[in-house]
Amino acid sequence: EPEVTQTPSHQVTQMGQEVILRCVPISNHLYFYWYRQILGQKVEFLVSFYNNEISEKSEIFDDQFSVERPDGSNFTLKIRSTKLEDSAMYFCASSEARAPNSPLHFGNGTRLTVT
């Protein structure tokens, strides 16, 4: 079964550094998402992306965050200047159609640790 892949599985960075989290969504999917889960807390929506633009973003997704689909396969989340509170598991997801008619498929996540 096709799956969403995320790299790296674990990223350690120093506060103030830029990080790029990478995702390869399922090939025929059109809708892309980033969620995050701070340790011990619930999974939170960050951003949705469709037709090469942001569809919706949460309050968490401030100017430090950006997303991009640089080619036909990758979907990236960039954090320009990381803060300690950005430490979390970041999940990429994709769906074939406008969910919830088409459920989200999640990757295994990237654990970001900001020191």
């Binding site: 809708y31 619930k42 999974v43 569809s55 919706e56 999940f91 919830p100 999640f106 990757g107 295994n108």
Partner: protein, 115 residues
């Protein structure tokens, strides 16, 4: 705003025993409801979903859930738990927004299975 409550943070059951995980939602319209499972170090896997129709839905791995509008609940059940079911379970409600959608998750229930 929509919200999801999972009252039980941690549940322990014996292998072979039955399981029920509780989920209550708050949503103004007909909800789109999901259960996801997260095994250690893994991403979120969809167990089952409810959009409309039969209020008892069947999912993968022998799980089922019942939608009860009067109680605003969508509890997950399994007649006989296996040790491999130990994981964290998340209930979520979906919302169509703009050109995409988003999921609002509960805080999760961690299931421990004793042999």
């Amino acid at each position: 705003a929509q919200s999801v409550t999972q009252p039980d943070i941690h549940i322990t059951v014996s292998e072979g025993a039955s399981l029920e995980l509780r989920c209550n939602y708050s949503y103004g319209a007909t909800p789109y409801l999901f259960w996801y499972v997260q095994s250690p170090g893994q991403g979120l896997q969809l167990l089952l979903k409810y959009f409309s129709g039969d209020t008892l839905v069947q999912g993968i791995k022998g799980f089922e859930a019942e939608f009860k509008r009067s109680q605003s609940s969508f509890n997950l059940r399994k007649p006989s738990v296996h040790w491999s079911d130990a994981a964290e379970y998340f209930c979520a409600v979906g919302q169509l927004t703009g050109t995409a959608s988003k999921l609002t998750f509960g805080t999760g229930t961690r299931l421990q299975v004793t042999l």
